[in-house]
Symmetry: C2
DNA sequence: GGACTTGAGTGGTTTAGACCATTGCGATTA
DNA sequence: TAATCGCAATGGTCTAAACCACTCAAGTCC
């Protein structure tokens, strides 16, 4: 969408805010990128460096930013390729499976591990239990059309869901809660922020450590307002964005 | 200072995942950071480099990640300081002013510029007008307690709001729409994604170019479902996170 | 044919050093 | 006293070079 801010051009040659080389290079590469179809390859770092007359370090800085924005994909040992754009994920209180299907994508989900531990004070507060009570921690890898999409770590109070650890699998957690315990979700409080990938997350998501991530935390309650789970999900920031539909509580003018 | 034993990468004789130095350094710095009160200062880059026996480049990479996460604040010419944590911004269809007040903060908002231009095809579609029709573009700098918080760029169809450009100021836009045109907002579609700061944005937000940002796009409609505005807001990713309360459409189990 | 080895090319990490831009404070000066 | 200057320390940018880790395809061997 045509953005034309005043003063972003270099002029006077005097005390100009001095545009860094890597930024200028980034723009030239972005231009080059417009004529490369998604998936197409770019020249190697060394080639770009000599092509544009800068050091490889500078090239890498420019490429790193383009990668963080999802406009490039880099594969170690293979090359640098044009990106594919971002997917969207709706912010709503529904299951992952349902959510993805409504976007016409094929969702799968695999349980990475399930273990029982003691709640620390902070977690106990969130789940409405006492510090030290048993908590079931589930880690799942979410995929869409086979592509790793997010790592989801759920924590549930075991006292409320006795034996839950024996039922969990790759299937829907919310389905289990309803079938075995008659619990349905009522509302949730969700926060979204940026984060950087840890090496472990990066390995699972096919990312590199330190990459931009969207960190989504969800605190879910059942229909009677009792806390059910606390979830932290990590999404690749270069591939996903979130959508929410907001409704006015009433017309507010101020 | 315990030199890194190169041996820990060879213990199993196979291919160990090899932790980069800058990551290990980052963790050691994070540890150090836990005993520094917010605003407290850290040693300079050169001091850290010799202290930990690594190059300044590696130190900078570790510091850059901590900064992106909002755990550090760096001031050119002055030093590196411990961060202050993130604020939250509620995702709801209400005015900025109201929104901030409910968080006990003092909001201000200044109009950077207001100009009239022609809609390109994409924008025309969003605003329900024809390509080339007049569009009013407003750029605002939002502050909370005096701190730059976000840059908000709104676009409205001038044909629906004739003379709007003569009314706009630092006050509430939604208030104007109601007073002069009897228009109230009904619902909006909002997307959230990561982005990197442009030099212009960075200058306004007191950031550095290439920093992590949260890009929030809002497509607002009036109570009759007609498009009213299209807004893109850029927030500092190291300082803000967003909150949404989600309500189950009904109990969904699957 | 099929399994293996090898090597060239790619991105990833790290180093040491140079220079620039900004800040803040102490010394100097009006 | 008050303003100014100078300078040292800080973070910011950039270079050139080395080495590592991964990929892939060509070549080799059985």
């Amino acid at each position: 969408m045509g953005e034309n801010l005043p003063g972003d051009a270099v002029e006077n040659g005097k005390k100009s805010p001095r545009t860094p080389k890597h930024w200028e290079l980034k723009e030239r590469l972005a231009e080059l990128l417009r004529v490369v179809s998604p998936g197409g390859s770019l020249p190697g770092e060394r080639a770009l460096a000599s092509e544009f007359g800068v050091s490889r370090t500078t090239v890498r800085k420019a490429l790193a930013e383009l990668t963080a924005e999802g406009r490039l994909t880099r594969v170690h040992g293979s090359g640098t390729f044009a990106g594919e754009g971002k997917l969207t994920q709706r912010l709503q209180l529904s299951s992952y499976t349902e959510d993805m299907r409504s976007h016409g994508r094929h969702p799968t989900s695999s349980l990475l591990d399930a273990r029982i531990g003691a709640a620390d004070p902070e977690l106990a507060l969130l789940l409405g239990i006492r510090s030290g009570d048993d908590v079931l921690r589930l880690r799942r890898l979410r995929r869409a059309d086979g592509e790793p999409m997010a790592i989801e770590t759920s924590r549930l109070p075991l006292a409320r869901f006795p034996g839950l650890e024996r039922h969990v699998g790759d299937g829907s957690l919310y389905g289990l809660l309803w079938e075995y315990y008659g619990v349905a979700l009522g509302h949730a409080e969700e926060t979204i922020e940026t984060a950087l990938a840890t090496p472990a997350e990066a390995a699972l998501l096919g990312n590199e450590a330190g990459a931009l991530m969207l960190l989504l935390s969800r605190h879910s309650f059942d229909t009677e307002g009792r806390p059910v789970e606390w979830v932290r999900s990590v999404y690749r920031g270069d591939r996903y964005k979130f959508v929410a539909t907001l409704v006015s509580p009433q017309s507010d003018h101020h």
